[in-house]
Symmetry: D2
Subunit: 374 residues, 4 copies
């Protein structure tokens, strides 16, 4: 069907993110001229029934109830992990040991220490890795980064970032793994996206002062009782960046009414950008180079001018969707495997986010600023 080399995928986990990854593979293959032909080789799930069904529905040729089988299969090139967070490390280390490339959903691991083991192992084996921070794949965020890098905003002075939703706003919602002190909380769950975007745009954060608050102290345990919650419902931080800019960031999962407030503003000496994930096919740009009396934030709509948007829609304004972001993520990862580009967001980057999250949590607990160690 193609003379391209084949890249064989072994998928572990068939929940929402597993499905999203499969969409990503399929769309990426149709939309981009990838260096490989992607083959959905084997899918693993815990029961024979679930695995068989996933294979059929998602288009995998084989299935298994044992993820170790995938790791042990020589033909499989990439192990794609969408299993629960607590299992990421064991799976990834085994896959890396077997010389496989590893694609892992975020967060890389509940704790930075585990993430570091994973990143170190990947580096030692020189396999290619990817962590799923898909908001960064938005063409408008790439545009923002390019504009900043090209100096269109002048020198960057300030940043305000946010990721607020309301999926935990209902106090009657039950205790879940997201409330587990190991890796849980709004800052880790979605504030991590806001941190990733901040560094994607402005470069490394150098120092933080955190504020992590538990507003809903207990939740139903699903057995008629309740269970204490100690993780943050809101986690925010003051930031210093290595480039001299300052700013703030917030993760908030009790922001009633907000569904996808992954927003930012960047202020430079010559211009500014404003973005909201609520309307993620737009980027608002203010330039002091515009004529007096004609200045204002201009609403740039995603268009073929903003790669890789044109791969999805040949005309401006048609808009890509959330699932398309995953396809862009897959493209970048596959190109990195082919050696065409550096890893867009590998395990080292995933570790970096975990460290930022934990440093902010620690800063909050200790009530003091903490430098991000190199």
């Amino acid at each position: 069907m193609s003379d391209k080399p084949v890249l064989r995928i072994g998928l572990i986990g068939t929940g929402f993110m597993g499905k999203a990854h499969v969409f990503g593979f399929a769309t990426a293959q149709k939309v981009f001229d990838l260096p490989y032909r992607l083959e959905l080789h084997t899918v693993a799930d815990v029961t024979e029934k679930a695995a068989a069904r996933a294979a059929r529905d998602l288009g995998f040729a084989r299935h298994s109830t044992d993820w170790r089988e995938l790791v042990a299969t020589p033909e499989i090139d990439v192990i794609d992990i969408t299993a629960p967070n607590a299992l990421h490390k064991e799976m990834a280390l085994a896959a890396i040991a077997a010389g496989k490339h590893v694609y892992c959903e975020k967060p890389l691991a509940p704790r930075a220490a585990e993430a570091r083991e994973m990143a170190d192992a990947a580096a030692a084996k020189a396999v290619k890795t990817q962590v799923g921070f898909n908001y960064l794949c938005n063409p408008m965020l790439r545009l923002a980064r390019e504009m900043i890098a090209a100096g269109e905003l002048g020198e960057i002075r300030g940043y305000r970032g946010l990721h607020a939703e309301d999926y935990m706003a209902d106090a009657a919602g039950p205790w879940t793994f997201r409330h587990d002190p190991a890796g849980g909380g709004a800052l880790a769950d979605i504030g991590s996206h806001a941190l990733a975007t901040a560094e994607f745009l402005l470069g490394p954060i150098s120092e933080v002062m955190g504020d992590c608050i538990t507003m809903i102290g207990e939740r139903p345990d699903g057995k008629g009782g309740s269970r204490a919650v100690t993780v943050d419902d809101v986690g925010r931080a003051f930031l210093r960046f290595e480039n001299g800019a300052q700013g703030s960031v917030e993760g908030n999962w009790i922001a009633t009414g907000r569904k996808m407030q992954h927003d930012f503003e960047v202020y430079g000496t010559k211009g500014a950008l404003a973005f909201s994930q609520e309307r993620f096919n737009e980027l608002h740009f203010y330039s002091t180079a515009d004529a007096p009396g004609r200045r204002g934030f201009r609403r740039i709509e995603a268009a073929p001018d903003h790669p890789p948007y044109g791969r999805f829609c040949v005309a401006p304004g048609h808009q890509i969707g959330f699932n398309d972001l995953k396809a862009i993520e897959v493209e970048g990862y596959v190109r990195a495997i082919a050696g065409e580009i550096p890893e867009p967001f590998g395990f080292a980057a995933g570790l970096r986010i975990q460290r930022l999250v934990e440093t902010i949590q620690r800063s909050s607990a200790e009530g003091r600023w903490i430098r991000i160690s190199a």
Copy 2:
């Protein structure tokens, strides 16, 4: 891979829309639990090279340089036509004659007379047809229709519809098939979408007064000379609906700055809706049932509450993209083929739009109101 019956697709045309249809098939199959397994059987293009390449890139098992071969292949169930408009009729009639279901990109045909032949043939053979008016597949438009049907706006009184873009705003842009007096012009090309949305929401239009204007009277012919343009750059109409409502509609392809202004407002006795395709994951709803002092247009964001959004994203606010609309279109068509639902937008509907377009053009030329004959 599945125990579902197979539906085999023969695709004619491999340009942008051909590709978009293939995305639609692929995504629909992954996202929905379709009554069939879709098989990309054969693709036809004019040259061996183009056809072979399309087969490989798009995932068809076979290819051909003769579309008639597809029509003659007994295993093929659906002929999917994304070839130039001028060929739609011939291809569709041949496919219908062969007892195939036919999926045809919009417009159904350059002229209503031809569209009628096609619709009549499909009806006579009782095959299932679909015309590609994909904006109607937006979950927020379905929501709007349901709200209107359920009386949430009260009795509907007024409508204001629009589809404006600027892809023909540059007078230096060359003469294209879209400028052909047979089937060309802004009203036919994009005003047709605005008409489709109007009837989708409010039901049949009963009378029109048209205003079709050519603003750019000649365009480069691509050979160093110029060619006269007689089709409309702006086509608008006053409308009467059978339900007693009145309104207006506009198609405009020289609307500088606008990329996807497929907008509408609906006014009822108890509420109103406002929508813009520029932000098509939102619907704005005003209700007089809200408390005094608390009324206002509320911005409803697309969510799993609005089927089939939840098939694409499990959480609200994540947003679907333009290509996802095509997958929803495919789903509807496939279900219609299976007899589960009526054709969502079959050839009769496509004919209806062509007739509205031509009636508006005629009304404009004659400078008088014209009733839409039954």
Copy 3:
């Protein structure tokens, strides 16, 4: 208190608009360096009590129950008419005959024929007149007009104008003078504003095709019965402008949810403008001169760059209010009286709007295009 010459005002009518005019006089005097000191000389209302109270509350030195007394008072320079529309003509003609300048609320008169008498009389006596179309006084509309005149949008091709509100949306609302066949209806009442804005920006309309619809055919008469309504609830028109542009306009007082949708879009060969009175301290500007990939409608916020905004607020973004528009109207009128500038919107302009309204109504009744006679 000032060495400026004094301009003495005689006000007829003390309702909402009377009050608004007095605010306008007061604010204009404080905000602008007017060529006159304005003196509130006498106010007239129908009863002694109402007139006395108005004098006290509004700051007039004298009051009267007979408007003719004001016209007969030699010291009064300006007769300001905010009485019911049906009385405008008689009052204005008397004032003009007495050599007074006349400031008259819109509409100038219920019928164009009467408006013409008034305009002719004013011209014959060479008094200065003003009709209250205050939306035109918005600094952002002045900016729009200047940008168009300066060619910032290139050649103007298209226009879409609107004035929609919902104050007549409730069918249980009683029959009022606004429903009187003489001068009533949505087109006359608020569509007239949309027409005024259209000509303010693009110059004279040359031809119209109207569509005036009565949706609520009877209303309570306030005595337990009902009264037929024959005026339009929605009045719209296709437009041709003398400059070659085409467009449309709508007046709508049953637009549920809309409170002040006085909106327009202007499309030129090089740029576009979009405006909504709902956010009237903003003008949105699209320019094809912006770099590719950086184009978009930019939201220009009212600022001292946009005279006379700076007279009200020394800093950008603070925003002027509706009543401030009236003060700007007063400034222009007073300067015209002083001979510094032409009349901003005199009786001839008011007549022009009445003629446009009636021509659209006639066009609708006759179902055909009508040229606006010179």
Copy 4:
């Protein structure tokens, strides 16, 4: 002219704010049925020429070059201070000692210690005072406060406040009194507004963690040299409220492109509010009480439903302007003087803001949380 008692104003300072106060007096008197008739008694400025001109232009009967003369004039009831911040204390203390009511522009004084002296003196003499935090006078902010107080949002959990502008974004802008370490900086200058709004809506702040940053370390001194700047260009804080809510606030005068970003979001258990001063005639309200699938932030436009909007405009959507906020401030103050209502924002409130500002600055300097002492 009126049988109301007279309230005589003595104004010190005739710059922008002096003028704004006079507008406020004039408009308040026309718009509201005040308990007093306001009389502009005497105005003071430093030179005879300036004072005489101000008297004439602003409508004061008398003028003086010595503010002490106003304080010594028995008939004057209210001393209105719009002189430079550094003089507020001396003037206010003298006026209070003379038993006058005192209206003072913000900030009350450069330092909280001075503000405390002023507040204590006013309390001891039981005169009525007012500090000019006019954004709080917005009918939409009053609505927000009422909705919160009435429980329409449920229990309040979170807050995000902001006041960002760009008037100091240009590093070439000269050193001014706003850069004076005594009372200067973005947090004091405009962050103070954000703090006032936060407490206006949610009640007392109980604890803060500050972050005050100087981004532009020196500015031209106007004499060809430069002068060090030590005050903050951005001042932000984490907040705890006595009601249990948490949040953040930011003052920023180098926010390129922003002219009036005085914004907030409030999150409760049952609803949320979002507001931007950029569109200050709107309040966005999300309610979990809306039906599933119909929820969304609704854009409530200012209307007569939201007092005292109706005093300015009889219809919704017409919009008040910045200067109208000052008139509302005057109304409140005059009613407080008449004993009808408590002081809306007296010296004690002004002191409170100063203390919050200084506590945040201290917290930033010490890098630790600080409780707001009672």
